[in-house]
């Protein structure tokens, strides 16, 4: 509960200005809180006279936390391929494990492990827990979730990290709920708190307009999904040694009430949008499928993926899986090239954390230029063909 010391409150209104939820107002010179309050604490931090306090955060530790130790990374492996985010997780996991002086382990759930455990070791894992079972040939939330849950109960890691991918965001909440522990979604930064070794998980909220740092250190394991392309993978070292532990899961735990009948691959895509380093994106300014052929050509030339604004998707020029923004995907590539996109906030929230943003738009006042690293005012139909030509020439020279 938020407590307001009415003697200390000077009615300055700083708390009101800092509240994202419209939950605190100065009425007759004194702050008043309403039902919107989520106890996020933003007002407490803003108060310069110490009039605000949140009570009830004295959390009890549920069980003996010291029996949980080690950092785990869920190694996403699908259709014969390790998801690149797994390597990134091993990179950040290695750092956390070294800081805490504990082992870093990867968990592999599959029907056929092959040389994947060795690869995971080369990227930094000290141990690889492998469950090899025919029922894991297809991803199902129940079988994958139960397997990871059972391993966690048995081996008691203090931290479990997974990619914020379609798979990670689908089954990791199952594991966290079953273990009755905290889970932080889509993190972009992970740190260890000096005083108590707690995992500090930083993530964008409100579509990236606000960053929040979240802790869940009174329960174990501390769990987080991590946004792809944000963490750095280590260079693999084939000479690294690690331990591979083969585990069995009770057969009844690998039963799924959801059955996968069929898989249809995304058509016409060379590069997966979530994993692409370069994204070339088009909006209504592209004026149709013809325009998107230019986008596709440039993307292919740069080894990048194709994206679109909602306006372009709604017009039927690109299929929905390519939509970036509030109701589409969130991407953070090294380079995002926005062509003929106005930069409505609903689009910006899906791409504004990209390292470099190039905007091409004929309207010099388009809001996309507010987030751009490089801006080009001009007509995409003049610029893109020339640009493609120029890059081709330079490449062949």
């Amino acid at each position: 509960m938020l407590l307001i010391d009415i003697d200390a409150c000077i009615g300055c209104g700083l708390c009101e200005a800092n509240c994202a939820f419209d939950a605190i107002h100065v009425v007759d010179g004194i702050a008043e809180v309403n039902e919107n309050c989520t106890l996020c604490g933003a007002c407490v931090d803003s108060c310069e006279v110490g009039a605000l306090k949140i009570e009830g955060i004295d959390r009890e530790e549920k069980d003996d936390l010291s029996t949980w130790s080690g950092i785990w990374v869920y190694a996403e492996y699908r259709h014969g391929r390790i998801a690149p985010v797994t390597h990134e997780l091993l990179g950040v996991g290695r750092k956390l494990a070294d800081l805490k002086k504990v082992p870093l382990s990867a968990v592999l759930l599959t029907d056929k492990a092959g040389d994947v455990p060795a690869q995971l070791v080369s990227y930094g894992a000290d141990k690889v827990y492998v469950v090899e079972d025919q029922t894991l040939a297809q991803f199902t939330d129940e079988a994958y979730g139960n397997a990871l849950e059972d391993l966690a109960r048995q081996y008691k890691p203090e931290v479990i990290l997974a990619g914020a991918t379609a798979i990670g965001r689908s089954f990791i909440p199952r594991v966290a709920t079953s273990l009755k522990t905290g889970l932080t979604a889509d993190c972009t930064q992970l740190d260890i708190q000096q005083e108590d070794g707690a995992l500090l998980q930083t993530r964008p909220a409100f579509g990236g307009n606000i960053m929040a740092t979240i802790a869940s250190s009174k329960t174990r394991p501390q769990m987080a999904t991590v946004r792809p392309l944000v963490m750095k993978a280590n260079v693999p070292d084939p000479a690294r040694q690690g331990e591979v532990i083969h585990c069995t899961i009770a057969p009844e735990r690998l039963v799924s009430r959801v059955k996968v009948r069929n898989f249809v691959a995304l058509e016409g895509d060379q590069v997966n949008l979530n994993e692409a380093d370069i994204v070339v994106s088009g909006g209504r300014g592209l004026d149709g499928e013809k325009g998107f052929q230019l986008i596709a050509e440039l993307a292919q030339l740069l080894d990048g993926a194709v994206a679109a604004s909602r306006a372009a998707v709604d017009s039927g020029w690109m299929p929905y899986p390519h939509q970036v923004g509030q109701t589409g995907k969130t991407v953070s590539p090294k380079v995002y090239i926005a062509c003929g996109i106005s930069g409505a906030i609903q689009h910006l929230v899906g791409m504004q954390s990209s390292d470099t943003i190039v905007a091409i738009n004929r309207d010099p006042h388009a809001p996309i230029f507010d987030v751009a690293t490089y801006g080009v005012v001009g007509d995409v139909f003049e610029i893109l063909p020339k640009l493609i030509e120029k890059i081709k020439q330079a490449r062949s020279a």
């Binding site: 039902e35 106890l39 998801a83 939330d141 709920t177 905290g182 801006g375």
Partner: protein
């Protein structure tokens, strides 16, 4: 078929912004809206009802003013509305939210199908759907983009994956979270608006849903916010000027350096 749609009232993303210079929030006239994904969940529920018969109940956990989105949902085709509201729910993270929602759903007699949005645009967690299914001990499928077959006993749906989509089969009762590709939500009808006006909203408190208070709100939440701050903005932007050819030359040079 009894369908429950979980909906959430959220602040419109475009209104919420932290000013990085003063670190204060500018939220001039923050609008509260139905979480955009939840509109698609509602629309799918109403379409299923129209085709197969049944009832659509919208359910939200939130402050009293969340009743607004329940009325709006009824004007778009929902039959009944339930508001779960209690000061004890304040500060709930996804674990406490799924506990509260599951208790409420048990109280209203369960459902054949529960539909949620893929994620809420304020917290962006996408965790409530899966967590709720676990609490109810029913199977779930996230990010569905199409219902291929539907019957009283089983559904075939397409779930969106990073590399394409899976076609999956699931027995009822079940929970799905939907992406916006699944349908185009309808606008409120005149008849719906009339109905919404007269609608009696069932309000449930913590006591009504037989909740264990230790699992509610802040107390029942293993995660908590340590701090909030403004994202770091990129350095100043550079405009690439000149004739079209000059612009292209500079841009090409940069792109080849990066790519």
């Amino acid at each position: 078929m009894k369908i429950i749609v979980c909906i959430k009232q959220v602040p419109d993303a475009k209104d919420v912004r932290l000013d990085p210079k003063t670190n204060t929030l500018s939220r001039e006239g923050v609008q509260s809206i139905i979480n955009p994904y939840d509109r698609h969940a509602l629309e799918e529920a109403v379409r299923l009802k129209e085709k197969h018969g049944g009832t659509v109940i919208v359910l939200t956990m939130g402050p009293p003013q969340a009743a607004e989105i329940l009325r709006e949902s009824v004007s778009c085709g929902a039959d009944e509305a339930v508001l779960v509201s209690d000061r004890a729910f304040a500060g709930a993270d996804t674990l406490a939210t799924t506990y509260t929602l599951s208790q409420a759903i048990k109280k209203i007699g369960g459902a054949d199908l529960i539909l949620c949005g893929k994620q809420a645009i304020d917290g962006d967690t996408a965790q409530v759907g899966p967590g709720l299914a676990v609490r109810m001990d029913i199977p779930y499928v996230t990010c569905i983009r199409r219902i291929v077959e539907a019957s009283d006993k089983a559904f075939v749906v397409e779930r969106l994956m990073d590399d394409g989509y899976d076609e999956v089969e699931v027995t009822l009762p079940a929970l799905f979270t939907v992406v916006k590709e699944i349908n185009e939500p309808r606008l409120p009808s005149l008849k719906g608006k009339m109905k919404a006006k007269k609608l009696a909203i069932t309000t449930l408190t913590a006591a009504d849903i037989d909740a264990d208070t230790a699992q509610l709100g802040l107390k029942g939440s293993p995660t908590w916010v340590v701090k909030v701050f403004a994202p770091q903005l990129k350095g100043d932007r550079t405009m690439i000027e000149g004739t079209v050819q000059e612009q292209v030359d500079q841009l090409a040079e940069k792109l080849m350096e990066w790519c």
